[in-house]
Amino acid sequence: MRHNEIRRWTVLGMLSAAAILCNILESVYIGPLFLNMRIGLANIASLIGLLLYGKRGFCIVSAIRVITSPLLQGTLFGSAFWISLAGVSLSVLCILILRTERHSLLFLSILSAVSHSLGQVLAVCFLYRQAAMAATLPYYVLASIAAGLATGMIASLAAKHLKPVLHI
């Protein structure tokens, strides 16, 4: 029992580290692709957490990533941090509300990406008192569907190879 617990926290720690690395690499080397939209590579690690350890795994990886990544980049408590936190919070809330066992990973990944974008746009509208930012929402949602599909497929493939290695 104790052995399993140690293994679970070790895997979640490694997934969080992978999420932070993806987030930093994406910020530094890839940058925004369309408008201010990023692919969301860090979400792959959160989705693997969901596949391996359920909702709890998703929440832990997302929470560690959203706090540690800006801490390492020196942007903690800046405007970008609050916007990112709003996106991750809505995404986590969405996954917590849904009965994940009834849905496919691809659908959950798309929903997570869409709710992440929605949270970020709402945060910008609120922080900068700019309701006009809502005009960008349809573009973000369409891009999120494509990004969610891609990250969901990668996460599914990665989890398939990780499960036998980690004996889960």
């Binding site: 940058g31 691809l106 006009a132």
Partner: protein, 119 residues
């Protein structure tokens, strides 16, 4: 957890895509007498018409930026901020209604008032 997308999920995603496309079409409807507002720290610091080609400088929290207006479109140039997202956003116009934001400078460039063309 299911492995592939189910019929209900596909319908849900298709519905979402249709709503977004309809929203974009509605945003892109013809407009005339467009005015663009530049907002810094919650206050409108500049208003311009996209019909007149010009370059405007706006002071911001990080050193400010320039807005170039050309052929009815506008974009950010010479921005002094760490992430350059505002410049990467590219050209905005009355048709696409893209809002350009520079968070480090606390500057938002968005469409102001306009009237619609008679159909």
């Amino acid at each position: 957890m299911k492995k592939t997308l189910q019929k209900k999920e596909l319908l849900c995603i298709a519905g979402l895509i249709l709503i977004c496309l309809a929203w974009i079409l509605w945003l892109k409807r013809p407009k005339e007498h467009v005015r663009v507002d530049v907002i810094h720290d919650g206050k409108t610091v500049l208003e311009f018409s996209p019909d007149e080609d010009a370059v405007y400088h706006i002071d911001g929290d990080c050193g400010g930026l320039d807005v170039e207006v050309k052929d009815g479109r506008w974009h950010v140039i010479h921005e002094q901020c760490p992430n350059h997202i505002c410049a990467h956003t590219g050209w905005a116009s009355a048709e696409d209604m893209i809002v350009i934001t520079c968070l480090p400078n606390d500057i938002v460039i968005r469409m102001g008032e306009y009237t619609y063309e008679a159909q």
